[in-house]
């Protein structure tokens, strides 16, 4: 007779314990990044390019901080994310609007399914695509453009779906109010739908950005990496995650791994939190 309440309590205890286990890794990871990473974060970390192995080794041997920083990574990330945004944001928004406007139609359902499949496809596969479409045929070598295209393909489905979902939250009658005033279709989109759902659209874009900023795999086989600051789209470029990968493969650079990761994670998590903050509340 008492078995049932006991089982009930045991299960509740297990739920609490497992939930606490589930949140431990994020705390451990952030703790590790801060503990090992904060030392290397200083002005030169943001203003200088990554050091050579030799410089890093000398510094390590003398017990000094590794000189240099991740400027080439930051500029590369900014460049590629910027170009990817220019490609993906307009296409994503417009396709999202299309899906919203044609919700029940067969073709729209196909586009939506394709977008979902693309969103689920592994980033390394999208890297292969960037390699074949851009590295091989357009820039004839690893390039920032190839990286941007790969990132843009990753951003597209995220923006498409968030745009559609955001627009769906606008009551149909708001659109009708515009139509009843005889307002042409494109003006209703530009001046009513987009402003009304603005914060939701921005949230979607920010989430898409924060998703691709940390991507390494697709850049590895498209942008490759570069020791210098490069704003040339048809030349290889670095990115913060690419630098982390390079530091990881170089035993002399270990200390820089943690500061770069700390920087990257703080950047992405801040973006995530901001986007959650401005996200429209579901009712």
């Amino acid at each position: 007779m008492t078995a049932r309440p006991i089982k009930n309590s045991i299960f509740k205890g297990a739920v609490i314990v497992f939930s606490l286990i589930a949140i431990t890794p994020i705390l451990l990871i952030i703790y590790e990044l801060v503990r090992k990473g904060y030392k290397q974060i200083n002005i030169s970390f943001f203003t200088e390019v990554a050091p050579s192995t030799w410089d890093a080794m000398m510094a390590n041997n003398n017990g000094e901080l590794i000189p240099g920083g991740i400027l080439n990574g930051i500029t590369g990330t900014l460049l590629m994310v910027f170009v990817a945004s220019i490609i993906a944001i307009p296409i994503g928004l417009i396709t999202g609007i299309y899906l919203y406007e044609n919700a029940g139609k067969r073709y729209a359902n196909v586009i939506r399914s394709i977008s979902d499949i693309l969103q689920g496809s592994p980033s390394i596969v999208i890297g292969i695509i960037g390699y074949f479409w851009v590295v091989k045929y357009i820039t004839n070598g690893f390039s920032a453009l190839a990286g941007s295209v790969a990132l843009a393909i990753m951003m597209l489905p995220l923006i498409i779906r968030s745009t559609e979902e955001t627009l769906k939250m606008i009551p149909q009658t708001i659109k009708e109010a515009g139509l009843a005033l005889g307002v042409p279709y494109h003006k209703i989109i530009m001046r009513v739908l987009i402003p009304t759902s603005f914060s939701g659209l921005v949230t979607g874009i920010l989430l898409a950005l924060s998703r691709v900023i940390g991507e390494t795999a697709p850049l590895l086989i498209t942008a490759l990496g570069s020791p210098m600051v490069n704003f040339n789209l048809d030349k290889p470029a670095s990115a913060v995650p690419l630098l982390i990968w390079e530091f990881y493969n170089d035993p002399n650079m270990v200390n820089l791994i943690w500061s770069s990761s700390l920087f990257l994670v703080v950047f992405i998590l801040t973006m995530n939190l901001i986007s959650k903050k401005i996200a429209p509340k579901k009712n």
Partner: protein, 283 residues
């Protein structure tokens, strides 16, 4: 043509872009895979050989396919109790409380951590721990990768199932309580059955994530193209073999990697599609 139609056409034509991208992706992957299938036929899929030596080149994808499935399954199994408990914690036991919001936010943050940072953490923190436990000599391998993957997919497995569990109407649960059921019994006889397909779908989608995950696995799995003998053995996954070997690959080997990319794309597409189907059943 009036502005109405111009707008409609712009929307439609833009929506074609994502269709073309995905068709282009498939064409690129298929045409890149042709050489390897011409050489080895479908033996490529079930052969276990991987020998890039010129003259006796031989490529088989079975080890990486098996490696991928084992790591992802193991990750899912490790993740299940954590994600399920967290969903119940947030959406059932402490629904709406501050502690639930905190846990929810922390779980969401997990999704923001880049794959490469998980890899670093796994390499520098988890791997030594595995060695200490005596589970494996170097700490690399299937188990270590699965453990990190399990953490990485927690947010994907949790968010959707949490949402759906919290949607289970109260009057259903109250009916069971009024009959004297304990909370545990309500959860397993009312809540979970009502939310079943949503919960299953979120685990399917999380599994799809695990399959495509690249960097963290590449850094932890040990990178050996052979079928692993136990879960503590080293191995390779489809994504990690591409990330590792794409850079220097050409000829048949390149084609083999692209074919693996194609298989990876198809597998994740099918899994995602399945997940969506299950969700549809729910709604």
């Amino acid at each position: 043509m009036n502005s109405e139609n111009i707008t409609k056409n712009i929307l439609f034509v833009t929506s074609l872009i994502i269709l073309l991208i995905s068709i282009g992706m498939v064409i690129t992957l298929v045409s890149g895979s042709i050489p390897i299938f011409k050489e080895f036929g479908f033996q490529f899929i079930y052969s276990t050989e991987w020998d890039p030596t010129a003259g006796r080149e031989n490529y088989g994808a079975l080890p990486v396919i098996v490696g991928t499935l084992i790591t992802s399954f193991l990750a899912l199994i490790i993740c299940l109790p954590l994600a399920f408990s967290t969903s119940l914690f947030i959406a059932e036991y402490y629904k709406g409380s501050i502690i639930s919001k905190i846990i929810g936010t922390l779980i969401d943050l997990l999704a923001g951590i880049p794959s490469i940072v998980y890899g670093l953490w796994g390499f520098y923190v988890l791997r030594p721990f595995i060695v200490q436990l005596g589970l494996s000599e170097q700490g690399y391998g299937i188990f270590t990768s699965s453990l990190v993957l399990a953490i990485m997919i927690i947010p994907y497995a949790t968010s959707l199932s949490t949402e759906i569990i919290s949607l289970v109407p109260n009057h259903l649960k109250e009916a069971a309580y009024s009959l004297g059921a304990t909370r545990l019994e309500v959860i397993f006889n009312v809540t979970v059955p009502a939310a079943r397909s949503g919960i299953i779908a979120s685990y399917i989608l999380a599994f799809g994530r695990a399959i495509g995950e690249t960097m963290a696995v590449t850094m932890l799995i040990g990178n050996r193209n052979a079928i692993p003998h136990s879960i503590f053995d080293i191995g390779n996954t489809m994504a990690s073999v591409i990330a590792n070997q794409f850079g220097e690959a050409e000829g048949l080997k390149l084609s083999a990697l692209i074919a693996i990319g194609l298989l990876l794309f198809l597998i994740t597409a099918i899994i995602n599609y399945l997940g969506k189907l299950v969700i549809k059943q729910f709604s």
